[in-house]
Symmetry: C2
Subunit: 191 residues, 2 copies
Amino acid sequence: METLKNRILAEGQAIGQEIIRVDSFLNHQIDAEFMYEIGEEFKKRFAGEEINKILTIEASGIAIAVCAAKFFGYPPVVFAKKDASGILTPGFYSSEAKSFTKGVVSTVKIAEKFLSSIDRILIIDDFLARGEAAFALCSLAEQAGAAVVGIGAVIEKGFQGGGDRLRKRGYRVESLAVIEKITGGKIIFKN
Amino acid sequence: METLKNRILAEGQAIGQEIIRVDSFLNHQIDAEFMYEIGEEFKKRFAGEEINKILTIEASGIAIAVCAAKFFGYPPVVFAKKDASGILTPGFYSSEAKSFTKGVVSTVKIAEKFLSSIDRILIIDDFLARGEAAFALCSLAEQAGAAVVGIGAVIEKGFQGGGDRLRKRGYRVESLAVIEKITGGKIIFKN
């Protein structure tokens, strides 16, 4: 998605060789109008797929998922909650995920009543790095017997391998911008 | 907002005398189409006001703020982050807020670069209970010299007094449903 790549180049901050900060439009300040363009692009990528639920994870994923919902005919959006306490909650599906940027292991959970075996799920998130959050969301969906139709990431950090690991496991992954590497403060996209 | 009140009565769960759970459309599963109706209603309530930024707080506030942005001509949406560590971060405005439902004190923070003295801010959140989060967001805006034009809450728990405390301090508060009390598992709205 060219507009996204241009935006990342113009506003993104490369920190070291592994972190990109895009908090002027995606992770802290949100450009809602641009989120709709992103949502529409996800619809194009997954056109023709039957999707009846969008799954995401708090916090930044929520804006993207809600904007995407508009283009998918408003299926319910469910956001997984992160719980650092590690305590299992009755009535919730749980899975573990380590945040690459924060270095923290969280329990990711969704109330059982919001997932079911008839669900055909699109997972949406802002970043795809090592794939920890995406694998956790897949696990939650599959614990409920739901089908994961695909995974849509706004920015994939290709060099961290999560996208490829998900693809190898048979998941369909659509990333709107794939970063090949960060070198000398410069962001290089994969063609 | 009648559709909201009906939805709260149909789907809300009263827990004890003080907690209402509306996680089927607002706090865990999100009805994105309904979030747009809510956003449009906020625009009606604040029609004629000059607003150039929408402020909210993670996580549930994000969906509402992004949907509301559409009706305000897409001003930037900034969501405050909660940090349980209590560590002050350079370059951030900080304020403290206690979550009524979770009983936890968080540091609420926004990067200084996303607030400025020319901002005319609408604060949006899902619940208004004791007003801790709203006061914290007002404080962040005011630390930057910005003007708080108003506060829009989806559900105000009137019996917890936060809305009235904010009004007494001179803030304009618009709540789309005000709950007077919860008694015997029944939710009673204020007229």
